[in-house]
Symmetry: D2
Amino acid sequence: MNIDVFAAHESNVRRYGRSFPTVFTKALGATIWDETGKTYIDFLVGSGALNYGHNNPNILAPAVEYLAGGNILLSLDMYTAAKREFIEVFVDSILKPRGLSYKIQFPGPTGTNANEAALALARKYTGRSSVMAFTNAFHGMSLGSLAVSGSASTRDLGGVARHDVIRVPYDSYPNRAFDSAGYIDYLLGDPGSGVEKPAAIILETIQAEGGMNTASAAWLREIQRICRKYGVVLIVDDIQAGAGRTGDFFSFEFAKIEPDIVCLSKSLSGSGNPFSIVLIRPDIDIWKPGEHSGTFRGNNLAFVTAGAMCKMWSDGQFTAGVERTAVKLQGHLDRLVSKFHKCVEQKRGRGLMAGLKCRSQAVVGRVHDLAFEKGLLIESSGPNRDVIKILPPITITDDELDHAVAILDNALQEQANRDCPSI
Amino acid sequence: MNIDVFAAHESNVRRYGRSFPTVFTKALGATIWDETGKTYIDFLVGSGALNYGHNNPNILAPAVEYLAGGNILLSLDMYTAAKREFIEVFVDSILKPRGLSYKIQFPGPTGTNANEAALALARKYTGRSSVMAFTNAFHGMSLGSLAVSGSASTRDLGGVARHDVIRVPYDSYPNRAFDSAGYIDYLLGDPGSGVEKPAAIILETIQAEGGMNTASAAWLREIQRICRKYGVVLIVDDIQAGAGRTGDFFSFEFAKIEPDIVCLSKSLSGSGNPFSIVLIRPDIDIWKPGEHSGTFRGNNLAFVTAGAMCKMWSDGQFTAGVERTAVKLQGHLDRLVSKFHKCVEQKRGRGLMAGLKCRSQAVVGRVHDLAFEKGLLIESSGPNRDVIKILPPITITDDELDHAVAILDNALQEQANRDCPSI
Amino acid sequence: MNIDVFAAHESNVRRYGRSFPTVFTKALGATIWDETGKTYIDFLVGSGALNYGHNNPNILAPAVEYLAGGNILLSLDMYTAAKREFIEVFVDSILKPRGLSYKIQFPGPTGTNANEAALALARKYTGRSSVMAFTNAFHGMSLGSLAVSGSASTRDLGGVARHDVIRVPYDSYPNRAFDSAGYIDYLLGDPGSGVEKPAAIILETIQAEGGMNTASAAWLREIQRICRKYGVVLIVDDIQAGAGRTGDFFSFEFAKIEPDIVCLSKSLSGSGNPFSIVLIRPDIDIWKPGEHSGTFRGNNLAFVTAGAMCKMWSDGQFTAGVERTAVKLQGHLDRLVSKFHKCVEQKRGRGLMAGLKCRSQAVVGRVHDLAFEKGLLIESSGPNRDVIKILPPITITDDELDHAVAILDNALQEQANRDCPSI
Amino acid sequence: MNIDVFAAHESNVRRYGRSFPTVFTKALGATIWDETGKTYIDFLVGSGALNYGHNNPNILAPAVEYLAGGNILLSLDMYTAAKREFIEVFVDSILKPRGLSYKIQFPGPTGTNANEAALALARKYTGRSSVMAFTNAFHGMSLGSLAVSGSASTRDLGGVARHDVIRVPYDSYPNRAFDSAGYIDYLLGDPGSGVEKPAAIILETIQAEGGMNTASAAWLREIQRICRKYGVVLIVDDIQAGAGRTGDFFSFEFAKIEPDIVCLSKSLSGSGNPFSIVLIRPDIDIWKPGEHSGTFRGNNLAFVTAGAMCKMWSDGQFTAGVERTAVKLQGHLDRLVSKFHKCVEQKRGRGLMAGLKCRSQAVVGRVHDLAFEKGLLIESSGPNRDVIKILPPITITDDELDHAVAILDNALQEQANRDCPSI
């Protein structure tokens, strides 16, 4: 197995290749194979981009057919049959059943493209330049998204990334005693606060990179109320938490809010093919033709796979299965937390978007390595990298889930035996 | 043919669908079909993302095989067999024959992701925050790329997009009498100039969106000399002009310069699948692991098609054909300029990346509409939208090219008959 | 009495002339005369620039002698005898008795010049660009000072004034329940907070323009501790609260903190002559010669009057008198608050830097007008202009003070009779 | 003579005290005395703040009378008799005779306060945030003024000083061949230039700190034409060149332009007392009351001395004398340039605002030291500090001027003997 070519020619920026030093080839559902034939359960799923598992047959089959059929693949924002079908399916299977009415923008295929478009539109709509963003947020690696992100190492990249961003505390930050929404409300109402009325408030309902911090329904509703009170656009960056990750299609459904703009990407194509959309409250859709663009905004193969994914949400058996799996996962995690309370501080997240806050980054690092050895891929998150992210495919089978959790239990046990007593 | 669904549900930002009011379905080489069966020659090629034509069989066949084979599709920056093969092919077929030595970064699949990564790395490498960029530049729609772009309507989006950018005149701007490189050299040498030493100079060798403005080899060499004199990173944004567009693989080969960083995207995947890379002079590759990321940086289907594309450049017959086609196109355009000098001011561009500067935006608009009617897709560029972009697939057949030029001749003739006399 | 010339030729920006529509001529101590011979007690004292009263004979006499004596008046930062004497007096009468050791910078004669110099030095010293500033702060009208100020109407001026400023809540903002210092500490310690380590924290111990909000000694000590913990420069803007206003020479003496940089202006010259200094912890004084400048930094007449003022602080009778007056004023105000609780919500401030928070801006407006009519000059402050600023000369006589308070009592009574019952 | 106190207690930022290591005490007209009784001719005049000489008796006498008379000294922007008289004199003696009609703003007493106010007003008036400024400009040390200044060492201070400023080449920059005004015109007309329409163009007619670079009348008129064409506010920073320095009261009179906003300070008070005003075309005066402020905007002693100065401009004998002195100085300098062409490259400036561009900074440094020794104070300017600034009082007597030039001739001779042959 040759991995020298990566060290020789790929930039030093490569990361996962270092923590999983093998070469992967095949994948199906929750399972992934390396060149030696060893299998792994994938709890990383492309950082949330493969919620429906690898090569989901419902999604892959139409893709192969489309690709082999001489159909148009890239079309900018010309009209194509594949795009028309995606729009119809998305409206019928996703928006209408949820009582939502949004215009759809295809901004370019990455999450950060979507967030940048959303922020630009909010600025254009309101005529204001500042944006309010939260502690420990993560919104992407291009400059506009960097600016609203919280991580110091990420933000250092921008050089100029700090401008026009008003940083405010997320739900329960720094601790439950502080009423973050009340503080924001007061700041915006006080003409001496030194805080301009922003174009938008951008938020994740669960801060995945930020440590699986979870906003409550009450807090989300308060933020929506504040946005409406001050005429501020509410943008939900649902790139990692949306497209099914929490068990619902949108992560904010549980809070019964209706954001002004929603950004989707990652698992939206269902296949890992780059794709993103921006959902816009119709009266905010004041874009002029061509005012925002992007070469790959017409990725037709992604239209096909995304459409196939959306159709699955009309299937009651599918949604019931997802719900059941979420309950099962949460039960597993509760057990792990109580079993390993010396290593694991608390469970985080919601539904199938979960995390284990550990006592230290070192604990997470060792559990990560042990799990890899035993056949499970996990990653860490949080400002101090002390949270294990648990992102199984939402289509994972019970056996796969049990097997993966057993590996995790095992790794935690081994780690507990070695180190935690002494912490 | 139903296009109402777009008006009803797609954002007002859609543009090409408005100027080409039909629904496309199939495509092969330079030809594209709409739902009614009408064919068009495509001189738009996804804004330069389909240099090798639609569904090029050399590229499509391995893609279908890979997709149908249960192979891994999305892998972040984990090591995969498909990625390893792409790296090997790219190094062997593209870099080595040109005597180039670069580290490869996979920054996320869009051009603007690549430019943002390049700018961030240059800032990190130099510890400086400003970047020098040119009049009429276009580098993308995310905030960092917007900031270095020239177009007022584009820049308006950013709100904050003007920061840390030093705007300087491109080659022959505002006119040939002015020594733009000399001016830049003087500014950087004068401690009172009010212009900080920048982290980077970012440039396109041909400004496609800016009106097909073409930099001379001498000017490019001067800019490289100035960059080396002042320790400034030279970034060539080769997203539209590279990957074969000018006839060479890189657009800067004719000038015999060796940029510090090169950004590629658009036609890099050969198939329209979103893909981009950043080529980095090895000593500049000071990224820390994971310091820059992007979910779709591991788009394995694009690795496969990009590899297939790169292999074509080892084929002497292919490169000779491209060269011949470029000569043929230039001959055609010279003829059109002299025939329609009342409507067409001058030829612009190089090789297969050409433009016709017309007397007005109105001329271009009407020629565009007439050409569409007759079966040819073209688009306009330039700050005043008065340049016809001519971007045929570089693999276009002689017959297709002649046919397309005949349509253009025809449209220009019709337009000349109607309007130009009165201008 | 002709005031038409102001309307005809002075900019619309003029303000106090509108609220005090008369023409003033003479002044002595706390009393000021208009052209008609009417007298007023001055509780405005040049927004805190005349703490020692108008034309204080201890200060005026040496000024007249100096001016009439053919002495040098403006000297940039050349060495002059007058400057030398000021430095000696300031060190001996002010710094040494308080155990303080600072280098003195003469940055230009206005408060905002001093704050700009302090911020620039902190940025240079730390190599960081952000500055932390508080809700409802006011630091001046030039761009760097605007940026750190809180008032929306002030900040609107800057256009670009929002950059590189991290806004945090002042002591007891938005309410006493919130631990503002703890929040700041947490933000700076959390690498995901989205808040960069700043070059400096700049603060007023009493926010005069912000509504006479008063920081506690405990909070000031916490902020100093946080600054030292994170290597952040602590700047106290003592422009309005310093130079004797609170009863001590420096407003922070009561908290037993030792800021890294202190800015003084306003009453520093003792005479209303423009003058400011920046006091710098010696190891932070890394200025290169001439790196910061200002034409009027060598205002020798101000050196003379400022020296005369400083000498007064060596006089035990003087300091005892100030202390007694402060107690007397506080007693008066306590009485007014309890007597007019329907109009007046609470007393604010400390020592001779006091305020009455009223129920509304309208109350303040009417009391202001009634007081003017009766012979007392006051002004309002606070984001909602609902605080009456009480800034008597600290040298005011008992009779003058009693008289002024009687006018205020009267005005409040009249106002209470008219309006407050209905609120 | 004790100068240790400065080293011990004054910030390292002090500069002139280092280059003139003596302690000054008395001054009259062009002459200044140090503690030892040695006299110097002052060609530095407070960096242009003492155009009328030290302690000019026409100006000093009313000042002493006012100060001794118990008159009000500081009044914010309340109406006072002294202010009313200044306004009347300024309108009658300065504005009316020149056919000018401006509203007068009193922004705070320093030049940078005035420039900041002017820039803020232009931004407010146009609703735009960018400002166009020139290579080698100098506008002051507060952040807004720093941002538009050119000097690298100055700009480094700001940290954030580069924002919202469009840097363009001054007249004849980088050389006479380049049409700077034409370039600016083109940039503003080209929607792809990457240069936003600015709120204002701010300029000095002679760049004193920038090296005594002189704008031609034709260029100034072109810039005015461009401003009017694009609706851009033309701000002339006449802080150093105005108030009589060039021989006319305003430095732009010779070009017959009428700027939208003019900033005056430095010599405006006639006495070295800090004072500045902003002159505003009446329709641009859209300030709201109190929207811009500054404690020392009501410096009444400066009103008195400034009024006395203005009155001098009604005296034909005075203006004739200034004119004659300017001619005499220019003759002297022409002679020096031709005599010392090995050391001195060219004469710069206009009228009594002159400079000698020398071959190197070292030449200037040695001439400065020799002159000081012989009894003449001069300073250097320019990005490379290789220009001798020649700023005599405009009221200098023939004898004093001849004496000063003789010293300069002498110093140049000594320097020429020593070093220039070898350059």
